[in-house]
Symmetry: C2
Subunit: 314 residues, 2 copies
């Protein structure tokens, strides 16, 4: 570039001044990897993400190693990153056993993982929606008693591979139950990437009506149908300031239908910075981190921004 | 799917009821292909696009074969598709010679291709911006005299690889010149894909101020940084109802920096249909067309929606 830097910064009306990016690459991104990633590489990934300016970096999951062998090293990993100053390091906890392991290591930001649909609750958690909520209730209570901040993930908020379109009122029931338990924050997941902007606005509006305030809501979009950033824009217009994203678009295989790539953090940052929205992220350092991680995994990043910024050959 | 069809249709306020998709795959998509595409395949592609419900299908370019050998068969191709009923088949004409060739074949929708920046005018047209406008002036006049509808493409409206960010007033000067010549419609091109939604809104607002009404404006976004659909949403909110897109995301190589993939028509249609916006397009037939074309070209479509809908194995 010889002139004005890109993206050109042009704010739009009615958008937040600052967005908190909840970086999920190290947990959601790596949990489906077929390649075994050494613990030291994961720790370096988390540290580089923090070094790029991300202040919320989900570090790992204390799920039983039988279910997610990729993250079986949570006990080893967490102490390797817990010294990072000024960075929140939430971890996923599926049950009381997982919570106890996380708390014992000093974790004070935890997340539970619920489903808006019966089909996915059954497939992923082997429980009904209500049974899974009953499991989470004492987990959330214990976490709150320990002084932890609790995030509640709600998956399949817009569509489900078995049930098709998911009506907002069905999602709202799960969300209000998680709030009633004490969850500080909810993350609305479009797990199969089918949402469109009007659907996003409608769900957010309904949740507000049901007593869930916008500051307690984060959005978690997948780019399976290329909709993630447009949906993010719709959420920002509604006032949402917490957006989940995965460095380099890590997470599942972008070439298969069931594997629904996360919104790439770099693509998100490009838009937010163009809109003059503060994130604290250094896009160059973040892109370099994703390029480095792609080398560790042996395949290119699916993020369009990472590809555009890292192909210096043209 | 066993239940509600996807995407779920949820309109958003303040968006148009109908969008005209200006399909550019057969021209913009194929003009950089290294693979030689037989004329009969191109004709079949145009016919299938029309069969999928697209009513504006840019067919080819009457540029000198020396510059774009990929489209050197314009004279052979056009008569193979010009019988399509109810479908507009615009063609690109770089100069009076090209216009005369197109008019002789009965074309009555033509497009000229201008640049908002001096660097790209020099690189692409080997002229200054003003010199290129001087070349277009008699082309547009003759086309209008012949009763043709004239579109003016304006490239590099948001950023330029040599000049960086492009200020809106610079774009407005070229746009108003093209309107003053008689162009019925302008297509605002983000040729390197760097725009963000605030920038889009600002340019559209400035053009309105300078006397170019929104119905005369189309948008042409590239997905190089993953921004195309979010930018489209911003344009729709401004009232734009003409959106350029390329079936399957054809156009350049998505893996190289300089090659800036067009917005995929399927990704656009997914969003528009989710928003309840009419397009007339049958997404299944369109996806099948892109899958077929990808087979002809010997490489997969970069469209995320095409990938998601065509991977039936999972």
């Amino acid at each position: 570039m010889t002139a004005g830097a890109l993206p050109m910064v042009v704010p739009a009306p009615d958008l937040p001044a600052r967005v908190r990016i909840h970086e999920v690459g190290a947990r959601d991104g790596l949990q489906n990897e077929k390649t075994a990633v050494p613990t030291a590489v994961k720790a370096e990934f988390v540290r580089r993400l923090a070094g790029a300016g991300l202040t919320t970096v989900e570090a790992t999951s204390f799920v039983h190693p039988k279910w997610v062998p990729q993250l079986a090293d949570a006990e080893e990993l967490y102490p390797l990153v817990s010294d990072l100053a000024g960075v929140d390091l939430p971890v996923l906890v599926p049950n009381r056993r997982g919570l106890d392991r996380a708390l014992a290591l000093g974790a004070r930001r935890v997340a539970v993982f619920a489903s808006a649909t019966e089909s996915f609750a059954k497939a992923n958690l082997n429980r009904t929606v209500d049974e899974s909520l009953a499991v989470f209730e004492p987990v959330v209570r214990e976490a709150k008693d320990a002084g932890a901040h609790v995030r509640g993930y709600v998956s399949m908020c817009f569509g489900d591979p078995w049930e098709g379109a998911v009506p907002p009122h069905q999602v709202a029931r799960v969300c209000t139950a998680l709030r009633d338990m004490g969850c500080d924050e909810l993350s609305l997941g479009d797990t199969i990437g089918v949402a469109t902007p009007g659907h996003v606005q409608a769900l957010l509006a309904l949740l507000n009506e049901r007593g869930v305030p916008t500051p307690a809501l984060g959005v978690h979009f997948h780019d399976t149908y290329g909709q993630a950033l447009a949906n993010t824009l719709a959420a920002l217009r509604h006032g949402v300031t917490t957006v989940d994203a995965s460095a380099g678009g890590l997470g599942g295989c972008p070439y298969a239908r069931s594997a629904t790539g996360n919104l790439a953090t770099e693509d998100l940052v490009w838009m937010l910075h163009g809109l003059g929205i503060e994130t604290g992220v250094d896009l160059g350092r973040l892109t370099a981190t994703s390029v480095w991680m792609a080398e560790q995994l042996g395949r290119p990043s699916p993020s369009r921004t990472v590809r555009a910024l890292s192909h210096k050959d043209q």
